[in-house]
């Protein structure tokens, strides 16, 4: 799907409408602010361990989340902050988890790579590459079996397309016609290695779709509108019982793979080129082109900044987890006992 040209833009031909546009912007701005805050907190040594930011990839998370219905389920990777926040999980709970505080989503038992909020349909963040694709199939199978109309959406990177579970899941979803959407965020790198160096086809997801009888779908992953439209079509197809979709979103991560990575392997000028197409910046310009009042935009931005500031303050003030929880929830009885 081509991005709109400036000359084509006017509020009279705006098929998405102002509410959707503002929501797409709000989400992207929120993800940007919250993740940048996570990075600041890391520099202050308040976020420990590792964290994988998706700065620059916000349009994918925002587009898919805005198109979801309550009750739809998302399955993320270790690079899951944005997808988690986009489902409405409070910033405080996400930052709290990154900071290892008791107010964190999992009270510090999961950490950055395992963000989960079942209440918001965020069914987990999976740190083993590809593991969650078959799991999303299972959730979709349940929906199909029980006649429920939710859709399971599974986000993953380009590198994931080379692992066996990717292929198993796609075949499985296709033969069972499951209401599941596989979303490949092609940010051009598998950790430190350009995806092209280790992949037999130029489009690691889309070029393999036909192997599973699926349509080849590539979308500009820096354009939230394009993502949103593609997502809506895929949800619709899934809800109608017409089976899975595999969508490759072309995007770019602005930061390194994880917090320890300065991304020195990138060719000179590449980041700068992509920053010109920064999804948050591009979308803001588009809102103005559509004639949306600048004050409305500023209002959204200041509200989010306040939200992230407040969340940060709350996390800094939050207690650390009580050691009582270390031995809980290994088994369903709440404990860890494996013998009588």
């Amino acid at each position: 799907m081509k991005p709109l040209q400036k000359s084509e833009i006017s509020s009279s031909n705006d098929d998405l409408g102002e509410d959707v546009r503002l929501e797409l912007y709000r989400l992207q701005f929120l993800l940007r602010e919250a993740e940048q805050r996570a990075f600041d907190l890391f520099l202050q040594n308040l976020v420990k361990g590792t964290s994988h930011l998706s700065l620059g990839q916000e349009a994918v998370a925002a587009g898919f989340a805005a198109a979801m219905k309550p009750g739809d389920l998302s399955f993320c990777t270790y690079r899951g902050h944005a997808h988690t926040l986009a489902r409405g999980v409070p910033v405080e709970q996400v930052l709290g988890e990154l900071m290892g505080r008791d107010n964190g989503l999992m009270r510090g038992k999961g950490g950055s790579m395992h963000l989960t909020s079942v209440e918001h349909g965020v069914m987990g963040s999976y740190a083993i590459i590809g593991a969650h694709l078959p799991i999303a199939c299972g959730a979709a199978w349940r929906a199909q079996y029980k006649g429920q109309d939710d859709v399971s959406v599974c986000f993953f990177g380009d590198g994931t397309t080379n692992i066996g579970a990717f292929h198993e899941a796609l075949n499985f979803a296709a033969i069972w016609k499951l209401p599941v959407i596989f979303v490949c965020e092609n940010n051009h790198y598998m950790e430190y290695t350009p995806i092209g160096d280790v992949t037999a086809v130029p489009h690691p997801a889309a070029d393999r779709a036909s192997a599973y009888g699926l349509e080849r779908i590539i979308v500009d992953g820096n354009d939230a509108d394009a993502v949103y439209r593609t997502a809506m079509a895929a949800y619709d197809k899934a809800r109608k019982g017409e089976g899975p979709s595999l969508i490759e979103c072309i995007t770019y991560r602005h930061s390194g793979h994880s917090r320890a990575d300065p991304a020195k392997y990138r060719p000179e000028g590449e980041l700068e080129k992509w920053k010109e197409r920064d999804p948050v910046k591009v979308y803001r310009e588009r809102l103005l082109d559509f004639g949306i009042d600048k004050d409305v935009i500023l209002g959204i931005e200041s509200a989010i900044k306040r939200e992230v500031d407040d969340a940060t303050d709350q996390c800094k003030a939050a207690p650390i987890p009580s050691q009582d929880i270390i031995m809980t929830d290994v088994y369903a009885d709440g404990g860890f006992a494996w013998r009588n």
Partner: protein
Amino acid sequence: MAELTYRDAVARGIAQEMARDPDVVFLGEDVAKAGGVFKATVGLYEQFGPLRVRDTPISEQAILGAAMGAAMTGLKPIAEIMFSDFLAVCFDYIANEFPKSRYMTNGQVKCPLVVRTGNGAGSRFGAQHSQSVENWCMMIPGLKVVAPSSPRDVIGLLAAAVRDPDPVIFFEHKSLYPMKGEVPDGEIVDTLGTAKIVRPGKDATILALALMVPRALEAAEKLKAEHGIDCEVVDVRSLVPLDTQTILGSVARTHRLFTVEENPRLCGWGAEIASIVADEAFYDLDGPIVRITTPHIPLPAADVLEDTVLPTPGRIAERVRQSLGS
């Protein structure tokens, strides 16, 4: 009361649970129309239909992943992995996904599923289709591990596994499939974590699991007949949860402990039990704990080779006799 094979007990156990609860679904390779490679699931497809009894592609990761996704969101799946050796192909789910989801999410995610798999040797299948791999699973926090030795226990423990809110790996023994046993009519439901004294005795305790249970029983009869040694045989039945109470109680009466394991010696479950008994019942013991295992080797295929490495009734009896010094 009916006489049933272990193989037929599997199908009856699954049918019992599927009839009771419409959320119980069953998937695996060749399990539906073909009735399973070991013919342990014959009739289920006909009885419960293609929506609940599903053939999958050869995709072990997809089978266990889908079982997990379904379990997390409200179903109670039973997934079959044909041979337990193949658990290695989808071990991520066993080691990283099922057992840790509840803990990592602070109790948000639940994973009530059962993985059934054909375990163990005796069929001359060689080193990639004959292993006893219950130890692989036993060491992982968050899993439960069960291995029945009789048709009756297949049904009772399978029911307990399906009804259990935690992920359970259910090891059926390939060489036991043709074994017959008395099975009461009606619903059978056991409790996980209950070992069973299958032969009371006073001179020594022999702990065994799965195929080693009938072999230990045969050894006990031999010891009694030939040497007047009266052994208690305890079927462990479930490694996690582990019924240490029954085990310690038996040792307190007999004062000697032998474990019979089919798995290779290194890090076998018998070592864990020996350690518990040494820790907690040292003064009950009249002699060292003896582990009878296969050697630390891959399993050979030919009759004579396989028979030589697995504990047999004769070898078990001989080892017990030597140790007791009669």
